[in-house]
């Protein structure tokens, strides 16, 4: 069995992947709300709202789980990350707060959700800004530009996220969120509306390919640790694997095999985040903070992991119930 701190790090990465494929798609929904066009613009917005309504709060909890696991199992790393990335995380927090509240104000207010309203604009703007900032945080983490004074906790550079490479990763994160959301939405619609989201999925995929193609060679200088990971050992297989699975996803969308597309889309996100984590391991904040030098006491990591395992017994059937009720059989497709 791997040491407890590595096990905990693995659980954090898995939670992050789940947040990306569930919560990420909710951000992507906001993108399609903003980009709703044509004769079915209102119907598109309504589809997004109805798809998110029952599940967005549960999806959002995965972010809380990631944060809590980080500060329980790697308390010093959490302190360092939230100091160094103070600015983008604060703005992302405003985005998260506005996104959630705007969504419910609009959904339960007097206006129909299909129409443009001030809360609709806030909802979509916050949905676009937040994943860009969260993505740029990853760019800053891997850049190696952030140094933390182990004694005072002071950070040399509060603006490491505001560089071309992190922002490029932020845009890539946004494009992937939009891609996932469009795939999921094809499974909630029929006819012309489904075709609308099919086209949007292909469009988002093309944008993400362009951004990834720009980011990859850039990594050599902007993210040396990741570059080294991707150009040696298992990493050599990672980029081709991501390319193939991404191609499978978009071909499945093209052929209107949306169930396959959903699985491939999720696999692609898992591969990207999992690959990033493996390439960066054992660093949590390259190059100063590692899984080893910032782990909390074994006693609390063990207690947390046991709590997770026990909690999963309640959580997993509950989640299954939620998604089978609302995501089972094209709930809105009959419209």
């Amino acid at each position: 069995m791997p040491p407890l701190n590595y096990l905990a790090a693995g659980v954090i990465v898995i939670s992050l992947i789940i947040y990306a494929v569930l919560g990420g798609a909710d951000f992507g929904g906001g993108v399609w709300d903003a980009l709703a066009r044509g004769p079915r613009a209102s119907a598109q917005r309504r589809t997004v709202a109805e798809a998110m309504g029952p599940v967005w709060e549960a999806n959002h909890v995965w972010l809380i789980i990631v944060i809590v696991l980080l500060f329980v199992c790697f308390a010093p790393a959490f302190a360092a990350l939230f100091t160094a990335l103070n600015v983008p995380l604060s703005i992302a927090l405003v985005g998260i707060m506005l996104r959630g509240s705007a969504f419910v104000f609009r959904a339960h207010g007097r206006q129909a959700t299909g129409e443009v309203s001030i809360w609709g604009i806030v909802f979509s703007a916050a949905s676009i800004i937040t994943p860009v900032l969260l993505g740029s945080c990853f760019g800053a983490i891997v850049s190696g530009n952030i140094h933390v004074d182990p004694k005072t906790g002071a950070v040399n550079d509060y603006l490491a996220w505001l560089a071309p490479y992190p922002l490029l990763l932020g845009l890539l994160a946004l494009a992937i969120c939009a891609f996932l959301a469009a795939i999921y939405l094809t499974l909630e619609t029929k006819g012309d509306l489904q075709e609308d989201f099919r086209k949007r999925a292909i469009g988002a995929w093309l944008v993400s390919v362009v951004l990834a193609t720009l980011a990859l060679p850039f990594s050599a200088s902007a993210a040396p640790r990741i570059w080294a990971g991707l150009t040696s050992g298992f990493g050599l297989a990672l980029v081709p694997a991501a390319v193939i699975i991404g191609a499978v996803a978009v071909i499945a969308v093209w052929q209107r095999r949306y169930q396959v597309a959903r699985i491939a889309g999720i696999a692609q996100v898992a591969l990207i985040i999992g690959g990033w984590a493996l390439a960066q391991s054992p660093y949590l904040l390259y190059p100063d903070i590692t899984i080893d030098n910032s782990a909390s006491a074994n006693a609390i990591i063990l207690a947390m992991l046991i709590a997770l395992a026990v909690g999963a017994i309640v959580l997993l059937p509950s989640m299954w119930l939620l998604y089978s009720l609302f995501k089972g059989h094209n709930p809105t497709a009959s419209r």
Partner: protein, 443 residues
Amino acid sequence: MTDVVAARALTAISLAFHIIFSSIGIALPLLMVIAEGQWLRTKNRAYYDLARKWAKAAAILFAIGAVSGTALAFEFGLLWPGFMKVAGGVIGLPFGLEGFAFFIEAIFIGIYLYGWDKLSPRAHWLAGLPIAIAGPISGGFIVMVNAWMNSPAGFSYDPQSGAVTNVDPIAAMFNRAWGVEVIHMTIAAYLATAVATAAVYAWGMLQGRRDDYHRKALAICLTLIVLTAPAQFISGDANARFLAENQTTKFAAMEGQYQTQANAPLRIGGIPDPTTGKVNFDIEIAGMLSWLGYGDVNALVKGLNDVPVELRPATEIIHPAFQIMVGSGTLLLLVALASVIYAWRKRRVPDNKWLLRAILISGPFGFLAIEAGWVVTELGRQPFIIYNVMRTANAVTTAPGLIVYLATFVALYLLLAAMVIWFLRQMAGEQATQKEGSSLATT
């Protein structure tokens, strides 16, 4: 404004905002489940309409609770990394457990809100139960963390090296203060929510809408008030005794006790003057404080003058806040007593004009008591963030520009508060313009 003041102000505002929504998140599901359960049992339409109405309010209030809770999770790291560096690895476990409880709430609130037409009435009611159960559990876990800040346990800390050793997460969770604090806050959440909800329906009845819908709503809320208000007094007494034994400084600060003295008086009201070390304009009951704290009118109560000046909390705020909390609780207890006597004698839901007015006026006092109580708890611990272990000033972030965050978030909270108030008013207006609330079921 220094960084630590800005960070404290922002944290205080965030907590003061969040505690209202988290209290509602604890108690409102219980009201929903009772109303829906009564509907299943009696088939009385008014109960169904109530459950639908409360669920609609819950949709907004839960979302605001979720986003303001997220803000706090971020703010721990954004504002207090020095604190989290120690606390995360010691008292993090209840945060993790709270994450699970919150998960269950979020999953079942989705099922409950959107499942009216997808589930059988009985299954739908059952889907409400996990929300009603997970709410107080999740609140309890968070209060356990606060209890640890007041009564730290389960670790050793070397302030020189910053090393945290001998971590025992279970001992940290079940620190000495957890029981009294968790019980006090959980009861407070039910009481405050029930009183605020009761006030809405008392107002409706005063406006002449004395229908079944209003009577049933008032009956459910008053039942909860009658059960919780006396319990809160007993719980409050237990807290005071705990503080008298374990946090003498906070006890002295909330009671305005400057001199160490035997036969110490209970000071009701009054404004402490830190320059003279006296409480002005108060009513004193001789020996009562000694008796309340230690069960003996001649017991010695330690005063603030025995505490070094730099370690003294702000009595001039804490004592009045404590008076507001106790005063509010007393008002609610009187309303509960009057209601129970009226209901018992007349054998019906109270509909007397004066009693309804009293309930209406009491509406905000449950939440006022909660806010004042947290002022006592948090300011009473200062200058420490972890009592006797870490100073608040040493826990604040080194990141610049906290004043910008403060301004941004104050604006954000004001906006959210305004929207929630607007939304709830709109909901109340809907009821006022409807006949017997029957069309509510379709909203």
